[in-house]
Amino acid sequence: MPRIKPQLFWQGRKKLGLNAAKLLPVCRTLESTANELRWIKQHVAETPSIIPFGARVWKLCDKRGNGLPLAYVLGNQPFGDLEIKCRPGVLIPRTETESYTIHLSNILRRSLSKSDPGQPLNIIDLCTGTGCIPLLLYSQLSRSLPSQSLNVVGVDISQKTINLSRRNLHHNLRADRFPPPSTSDSSHTQRSIHFLKADIFSPSSLDPILSTTPLSSSSTSSTAGTGEWDLLTSNPPYISPSGFALSTSRSVRNWEPKLALVPPVERVDLHQKHFYDHYYPDNENLLRKVDYQPEDVFYARLLEIARTYGPKRVLMEVGDMEQAKRVAGMVLGDGKLRRLYWGEGTDEEKEKGAGGAVQIWRDDLVGFEGYEEVLEVGVGGRNEKIVVKGHPEGHGRSVYLRRVGVVDHDV
C-alpha cells in the first residue's frame, strides 16, 4: 500500500478538522474522508444522546480510524431502500449484492405480472447473514405486487445472524418500509417471511425446511407444502484460504467473520464421510463426483440442493469470472442439472425464451441490462456458450440458472 503523504494530513486537518487526521489512514483520500466524516456526523445528529456531539463524533472517528468497517461503526448499512443493521460477527451487505438483488426482483416482477397472478411465490435464501437479500426481495415484491402471495425464507447456520436478521425484519417493519406479513386466513393474499437456523451441509436440518415450506396455488394456509421453490438465492462463503490472506482488504480480514468468507473445508469433508452415503445412496451426488476446488464447496452443495428440489430459478454469488465459469461448468457437467437448467440443444425452445438458461451476471446490471456477450466455457472437453450479462467492465459476480420451461420477461 502506498504511503499517505504528510501533506494530505495537513490539508485534511485544515479543511475538515482534527477528526480527519483519524480517518485519513483508513480512507486514504481526502474526498472519501470528507464523505465518511459527513456520514458519521449525520449519524450522530440523528441519534439523540446525552453525550456531547463533538465527543461522540470523536469516538466514532477513533473507532473507524482503527480499521473497524464503517457499517459496524454506525451500526447499519443502506441496502436498496432498506436500512440493514450490522453487528460484528455478521457479514456487511455489499453493493454488488444489492445490485443483482434489485435486478432479480425486477425480473420476478415482470415475469409474474404477466403469468398467472394467483400463483404464490416461494423464495429461499441460504447463508442469509443479515437477511439483506430476502428482506429486499420481500420489500420490492410486496410493494410492487400487493396482491401476490409471497413466502420468503432465510436460512443461516449461525444463531447470531438469525437473531440479527429477525431484528432487521422488525426494524424495517417499524420504519414502515414494506407491508407486514399477513397471517390471517381471511385475507386473500398470504405473505410470510421467516428466518431459520439450519446447517445446509446437514440434510437432516435443511431437508425439513426445503420440503415442507412452499405454498402451492391449491393449498390453504393450513395445508402448505406441495408447491415448488420459485427462487433459490445464496451468497455463500467463496474466498479461498490463500485469497483470504492475499486479496481481501485489511478491514475485511481483521473485522468481518471468517465463517462468512472462507468455506471451512475440513468440516465439509467430515460431512461427506459420515452423512452422504446415508442420505444420498444413489452415489450420484456432486460432492463426490466432481473434482471441485476447496473454495467451491458451497456451490457443490447448493447445486446438489438444486438437483434434488429443482427450484425454478437459482442465483449464486461468486467471487470472480473464473469462479463463475467453474460453477457454470459444474452445472453443465452434471447430467441431471444439465437436463433441468440447460435443456438439450433445442434452439427452437431457446428462441421462445423457455429453453432454460445458465448465465453469468457481472456487477452493474441495473441500467445496463442491454449489455450481453457470449463466453466459451470448457466442460468435459467440449466448449459451451454461456451468456454473460452486465457492463463489460464489471467483475463476474453471480451465476444465474433458469429451469427449462420457465420464461423471464426481462427488458
Binding site: I92, G243, G319, F368, Y371, H395
Partner: protein, 436 residues
Amino acid sequence: MLAAPWVCRSCARSLRRSGVFVSLQLRKASTASQTLAGLPPVLLDRARNLAAEHQQLTKQLESEYEPTAAKRAGEISKVVAALQELDKAKAALDELNGLLESDDAELRQLANDDLDATKKHLETLGLNLSATLTPKHPFADMPCLIELHPGPGGTEGRHFADTLFRMYQKYCENKGYSARVISYQEAEDRTPGLDGEVPISEAVLEVTDPGAFAAFRGEAGMHRVQRIPATEKQGRTHTSAVAVWVLPSFPENSTDAENDFNNPESDFYVDPTEVKSEKMRASGAGGQHVNKTESAIRLTHIPTGIQVSMQDSRSQQQNRERAWRLLRSRIASLRREQREAQAKDLRDSVLSQSQMSRGDKIRTYNYQQDRCTDHRSGLDVHNLPNVLQGGEVLDKVINSVQSWLTAMDIRNLIAQEEAQARAAAGGSDKKKKGGK
C-alpha cells in the same frame, strides 16, 4: 400583411382618452399591455381561425365521429368559449359607448358608471383568451429539480448559494410543496459566512409536486448578490452570482407513455450505451473481498458531454438512481432548449432578445439597500429578510415573473404566427412567380 404587435401605443392612446393613466406607469414587459385594446390583431385572427375550425369540426362530427377530430375540437373549445365571451363583452361595451353619446344626461351617467367595470371585465377576458391561446409548456405538469451552482468569484458566491438553497427550501415549506434534498455538497474551504452560511459547491433540491416545474421555471438564471461579505475586512461591497437551473424531473411512478423514459421518443430517454459510468470498479476483486465505503457515481453522457456525479448517500444504488435522474433531467432540458432555439430562429425576424437563457442575470439581492429586484418583470421589493426566508414578498416576486413569462409566451406565439404567415405569404408569392 399583418401589423406588428406594437400594442402598447394604441393601448396607451385609448387609455389616455378614457382618462385612465394608471396603466401607463406599468413597465413595458408587464402583461398590462396585452389588454383588449392591445389584444393584438394576430391573436384575435388566430382565435377567429380556430373558432371557424371548431365550427367546421363540430359539423363534421355531427355526421361522422372521428377520434382525432373530436380531440382537436376538445382542445380548441376553450379558445372558442373565451372568444365568445369576449365578443359578448365587446358588444356590451359598444352599446355603452353608444349610450354615452345620447342626449339623456341620466342615461349618460348610468353608462359612465358601468363603463369602468365593463372595461375591467373585458381586460380579464382578453387575458383569458390569450392564456388559452398560449401553448402550455410541455413540462409544465412535472416535478422539478432546482440546481444551484455558485458562479466564479470564490467563497462569497458559495455562501450565497447556501442562502438561496435555504430560501427555496423555506419557500417550499411555506407554500406546502414537498421538497427533498438530492445533493448538498459543502465546498472544501469551510469559512463560515453571514448567519451561519456554509460554502457549498453544488446543491440540488427536488420539488416533487406535479406542476412544480411551471411554478419554478421562472427562477432559472443568474441570481446576483451585492453585499459586504463576511470575509471582507475593509467594508467593500462585493458582487457575486449564483446560477440556478430549473430542470423538469421525471415523476417516479408515472404511467404516461409520452414521458416514459424507456420510450425513445421521449425527451427523457437516454440510451444506456451512450453513458459512461465511472466508479471504483477499477481495481481489486470486489464482492466479499472488500468492504469499501466509496459510493460515488459519475455518469457521462458521451454525445453531449453532460457529466453528473453523486456521492451524498452511503448507498451506491441510491446515488446511481439520483445520478440517472439528474442526467435525464439535464438532457431533457437541453433537448427542449435546442428546440426552443430552433423556434427562435424562426421568429427572430419579428422579435428579438426575449428568450432568457441560463447565462443572463435575472435578479439582484442587495443587502445594503434591503432590496430585491427582478430584472425581467422589473419588480422592486424591499424587506430582503422576508425574501430570503421564502416569505410572501418572495411569493410576490415569483408571481410577477410568472405573469411576465405568460406575457412573453404570448408575444413569442404571436411572433411565431406572424413569421409563419410571412413565410406562407412568401411561399405563395414564389408560387405565383413560378406560375408565370
